[in-house]
Symmetry: C2
Subunit: 293 residues, 2 copies
């Protein structure tokens, strides 16, 4: 596990400097830039960019070829957190232990900096020198589809409509596959696409990404019950308190753990069938299974 | 003026059906689609798509070549209105005499349907069969730049920060050139680009678009004082009531009218220097000068 952690650390700091520079050099009002940078800096594990890089390296391509797309991806993930935290949405005051964007900059600026990050993400790919025009168009189409009404925003809408009602397992799965799944799948697909993976490998990697996305979510639900407040950064049991449908609530804890193991097995099966070894992607799947935060 | 009005009417209804179908066929939660369609249907004059079509026809290209880009443009304009109307922003209950999006669907859905329209706009251009990949990338880059932190969102941020303080004329002009100007300029530039205008014509058309954009805004400020409530759809004198800096407040009414005439003259001068006649674009400039609503 040390190799993957070193890998992540090294790539992460390079990636973060590059991304922040993209915002600092914008010709835009200072408050807007500060608000955008505040949430981009708030950190997190940068799982999406790291997955993109890992897929890219599986096909022997340098990480630099995916830098602009990884930035765009992280900006879209970040905008979605800023808007989700708004009083009209989840009304959260804290995210990863820090005040949420609207708590620091006010609601209006938080809405606008989310809009700015979302819009700028597409400009970054469109003006990138990493890709041919064909590649840029394809990446933008894939990313917009993953993030838009048929993807992440649709999942967020379904999640909101499903709150405080008991969901069926297919309804819960629809929400996760869209709200968080589509962007995770894009991370891997973008790396595979830029890396030049063939059709068969691309299908296997899509499978892998869907399964680790669900595994991630199941692990989240389990940690909400079995983790410590210190580990997960929010009160233990908040899903139950909010009467949220979760994997443990629908399947029992034993059933949820079985499903987690099953999703991870399927992710590994997909990787094993690839045309080449993918040790970094293997390690990511294991990290998700073992994470405590 | 009848020719241009007939032109607008005919193109507008074709354009509106096409745009609404793009939303109706989405695989997304119904409420989200209804909220998106509600604001797209709320209408307005569709000035931006019409300017794009007019520029395109100036270069002898069929309107169909610009349909997807015009849809994207109108979706981005519409998302900006939905977010601007939110309680945290301008807190408006009515737009064009109808309840605003959040009044009908609630704030959370209004935020999400704005996000969905913005994201889907880029997907529409990226998946359009109207353009070569080179063209699509260029159009996306131009649109994202016009709509993002260095464009419309930046202008909206500056407008918010400038509220209830007396602005200088350069500050007021910065706001208008960004908040509304950049998207109007994109409308004409996109038509010119798809139409294949040469470099000299492109520069002239950019000038034209900037001047009619400012003229539009000055006329708006004048109408707020001299119009009737019926014509402008909101109480007369609301800018003064809100202590907003406007062209009449900074330049006197006479000065504002002189500046309006000057902007229009410069717009016409730019058109007169074009390599070809542009009767549709001429008529648009005149419509703006004479509009009463």
């Amino acid at each position: 596990m040390t190799a993957i952690k070193n890998y992540i650390q090294e790539k992460r700091s390079m990636f973060e400097s590059y991304m922040l520079e993209r915002v600092e050099t914008l010709l835009a009002p200072d408050t807007l830039k500060e608000s955008m940078a505040y949430s981009l800096k708030a950190g997190g594990k940068r799982i999406r960019p790291m997955l993109l890089f890992a897929a890219l390296e599986t096909y022997g391509k340098p990480v630099e070829k995916g830098l602009d797309t990884a930035c765009a991806l992280e900006m879209i993930h970040t905008y979605s957190l800023i808007h989700d935290d708004l009083p009209a949405m989840d009304d959260d005051d804290l995210r990863r232990g820090k005040p949420t964007n609207h708590k620091v900059f006010g609601e209006a600026t938080a809405i606008l900096s989310g809009d700015a990050l979302l819009t700028y993400a597409f400009e970054l790919i469109a003006s990138s020198t990493n890709h041919s025009p064909e590649q840029s168009v394809k990446l933008i189409q894939m990313l917009a589809s993953a993030a838009g009404p048929e993807g992440m925003v649709g999942g967020q809408m379904a999640d909101m409509e499903g709150e405080q009602k008991v969901l069926t397992l297919p309804e819960l799965e629809y929400i996760h596959l869209h709200k968080t799944g589509r962007l995770l799948v894009f991370s891997v697909m973008a790396g595979a696409y830029i890396g030049g993976a063939d059709e068969r490998d691309t299908e296997l990697l899509e499978k892998y990404a869907r399964h680790i996305g669900l595994a991630f979510q199941i692990r989240d639900d389990i940690l909400d019950i079995e983790g410590t407040e210190e580990e997960i950064g929010k009160p233990v049991g908040s899903d139950e308190f909010n009467e949220k449908s979760t994997y443990p609530s629908l399947l029992t804890m034993t059933g949820a753990k079985e499903k987690l193991a099953d999703e991870l097995n399927q992710a590994h099966d997909a990787l094993n069938a690839l045309s080449r070894p993918a040790p970094l992607l293997e390690s990511f799947a294991n990290l998700i299974a073992e994470r405590t935060a």
